[in-house]
């Protein structure tokens, strides 16, 4: 096996603090993500992991701190802008478009690239049709990649949980992101579903060289697939480094003591 090469910092989060009214969800979090690496953010439930992602892709606006992406620094992000810059994400508790088929869910991931105007779309004329086909092809490659060919036209609502998670990932991949934020991709899965998901994450990482930021509350899952790990607890960063370093970190051990993982 050739070692995969990790590039320089692509995403840099500096001193992020986030409050909901009085509640402090994140306090002064800083960490960086390098190109092509798999970066895990772990921590017990309610440690503020999801809030962190939501700050990165502009769902929440942190009160303090800054986020630097590819050299551009932002006080806080704006969802569309983030998407345009090539950051995609999946959601912890599935946020699929229930009323739509697998294909259509994935197609929405391509919408940023749609050029043809409403009139053309209404007439399904030349360019509109061509675009549709072009994107469908991309989407089909992802369907093939995630091995969900048998379900492409099923409404996602009817799919079992494990598959819905895959579709969620697929929708993110359809954006051809440079950075992929995964919010507990293995939550609520059985063992082999978890293994599949791990395989997909790794494949995404080395097939497309996508940088991956991965949230898990279950240490065991992520430790062996991620290059570096950040540990959050009660909105504070208590550890950062390679899997082994983190495992050795006393604070981390303390945070995880008693928690059933």
């Amino acid at each position: 096996m050739a070692p995969k090469k990790i590039g320089d910092v692509i995403l840099d989060v500096r001193n992020i603090s986030l409050r909901f009214g009085g509640v402090k969800a994140l306090s002064d979090i800083s960490f960086d993500v390098r190109e092509h690496e798999i970066r895990a953010i772990i921590g017990p439930n309610g440690a503020g992991k999801s809030s962190m992602l939501n700050c990165i892709n502009g769902v929440y606006k942190p009160q303090e701190g800054s986020i630097t992406f590819r050299g551009q620094t932002f006080r806080h992000m704006n969802s569309r802008q983030v998407a345009q810059m090539g950051v995609a994400r999946t959601f912890q508790n599935l946020a699929l478009f229930k009323g739509m088929s697998v294909i259509d869910n994935l197609m929405t991931g391509r919408n940023l690239r749609i050029r043809s105007n409403l009139l053309l779309q209404a007439l399904r004329w030349g360019p509109a049709e061509r675009e549709e086909v072009e994107h469908r092809e991309k989407v089909e490659h992802i369907i093939d990649f995630l091995e969900i060919q048998a379900y492409r036209k099923t409404p996602v609502g009817q799919l079992p949980y494990g598959l819905q998670k895959r579709v969620d990932l697929g929708r993110a991949l359809a954006m051809e992101p440079q950075v992929l934020l995964l919010d507990e991709p293995m939550a609520g899965m059985n063992v082999e579903e978890k293994q599949d998901m791990c395989r997909f994450v790794l494949d995404v990482n080395d097939e497309f060289g996508t940088t991956i930021v991965l949230i898990e509350h279950d240490m065991s899952v992520v430790m062996d697939i991620s290059d570096r790990v950040v540990v959050l607890d009660y909105g504070k960063k208590i550890g950062d480094g390679s899997a082994d370093e983190v495992r050795a970190n006393p604070d981390v051990i303390r945070a995880y003591l008693g928690t059933s993982h």
């Binding site: 769902v59 995609a88 699929l96 009323g99 919408n111 399904r124 086909v133």
Partner: protein, 358 residues
């Protein structure tokens, strides 16, 4: 049962993405359209055209517009009637004030004005969630009701406040007999249904549904809620506006604002709910249902009453109608949120798998 799909394999995405990928469906729909254009005129009589077919078609068209907004984009609207009114009155003004303007142009102009109005009143939807929107659209309803009553310019200062159009026609074809009207409207409806279908199954349609199903996720994949919602409002009120113009010009001929009051808005909403939220074909089912039920009730109830020895006044029929629709709405929302269209697609599905149930 009638499906024979072996050998109907798709070798291109175009083929796979057409509206009716299955041959039997294509044939069926073509047959249906052909029948509507040729068969119906041979069979139907004046009453059928005037009292059922024409209103049915126009309401279906309006419902398509409402469905784009409510069913596909998930934005509630209680003001569709108002946008129909805008369509009707602006088309009217274009028609009488611009010399030599072709009928079609007038109708579309009405639609465009409705579109602008729709966008204006849709703006709050950018800031607020569905519930508040209900009020914004009500605002539209009451505002326009008032506008067309109180501002005489819109009714061309006609003393009675009624607008009236006559000797309509296009390309030398004068549209006066009920049959002409039916064919004219039918043409409109077919074309618009097709356009609408293309929209909802295309990129913009997916944006609308994404906003409807999970707006946060939609935003995260780069869909702009503002753009999606406003386009929904625009397209919706355009179609509704055109429908309004047709309703006024073709169906009524002369009309008052009352024709487009809040009850019209409710009626359209009911068509969409009963017919099926998020389904174009559902609009036709719903419209048919709404048009036929009252007529049926008018026939049946007195007769039933007579059986029971009670005489049923037309007023009572009206009230019964209200109750029945009210109950139906609740029933559908509880039992089958996707309305009659759902039953339709289920049947089709079963036919495809026949004799298997799943």
């Amino acid at each position: 049962m009638f499906y024979r799909e072996n050998g109907q394999f798709q070798t291109s995405y175009q083929a796979d993405q057409q509206i009716f990928p299955v041959r039997q469906d294509r044939l069926a729909i073509l047959a249906l359209i052909a029948f509507a254009f040729v068969g119906v005129p041979l069979l139907a009589d004046e009453y059928l055209f005037r009292a059922i077919l024409v209103p049915f078609l126009i309401l279906a068209l309006a419902a398509i517009g409402v469905n784009v907004l409510v069913g596909y984009c998930g934005q509630i609207s209680l003001g569709s009637g108002a946008f129909m009114a805008v369509g009707a009155y602006m088309a009217y003004n274009v028609f009488i004030r611009v010399a030599e303007v072709p009928l079609i142009v007038a109708l579309l102009a009405g639609g465009l004005c409705a579109m602008l109005a729709g966008i204006a009143f849709g703006i709050p939807s950018l800031r607020v969630k569905g519930l508040y929107l209900a009020v914004a659209t009500l605002a539209a309803q009451f505002f326009f009701d008032w506008l067309f009553v109180r501002v005489p310019w819109f009714t061309n200062h006609s003393p009675a406040g009624t607008a009236e159009v006559s000797n309509l026609g296009m390309l030398g074809w004068s549209i006066d007999t009920p049959l002409d009207k039916y064919l004219f409207v039918l043409g409109f409806v077919v074309v618009f249904a097709w356009l609408a279908k293309n929209l909802v199954r295309g990129p913009i349609g997916r944006e609308w549904m994404a906003i409807r199903d999970m707006d946060v996720a939609a935003a995260v994949i780069g869909i702009r809620p503002m753009y999606a919602k406003l386009t929904a409002f625009a397209v919706s009120s355009f179609i509704v506006g055109v429908a309004g113009a047709l309703w006024a010009f073709i169906h009524l001929g002369s009309w008052e604002p009352l024709a487009f009051d809040i009850n019209r808005s409710f009626q359209l909403l009911f068509i969409v709910i009963i017919g099926g939220l998020g389904s174009i074909v559902g609009c036709f089912f719903g419209a048919a249902f709404i048009v036929i039920t009252p007529i049926a009730l008018n026939q049946m109830l007195p007769w039933l009453g007579a059986l029971a020895g009670v005489r049923i006044s037309t007023a009572m029929v009206g009230h019964a109608e209200l109750m029945i629709f009210g109950a139906l709405i609740v029933w559908f929302l509880i039992k089958e949120p996707h309305g009659l269209a759902r039953y339709w697609s289920l049947t089709r599905h079963k036919l495809r798998l026949w004799p298997f149930p799943h």
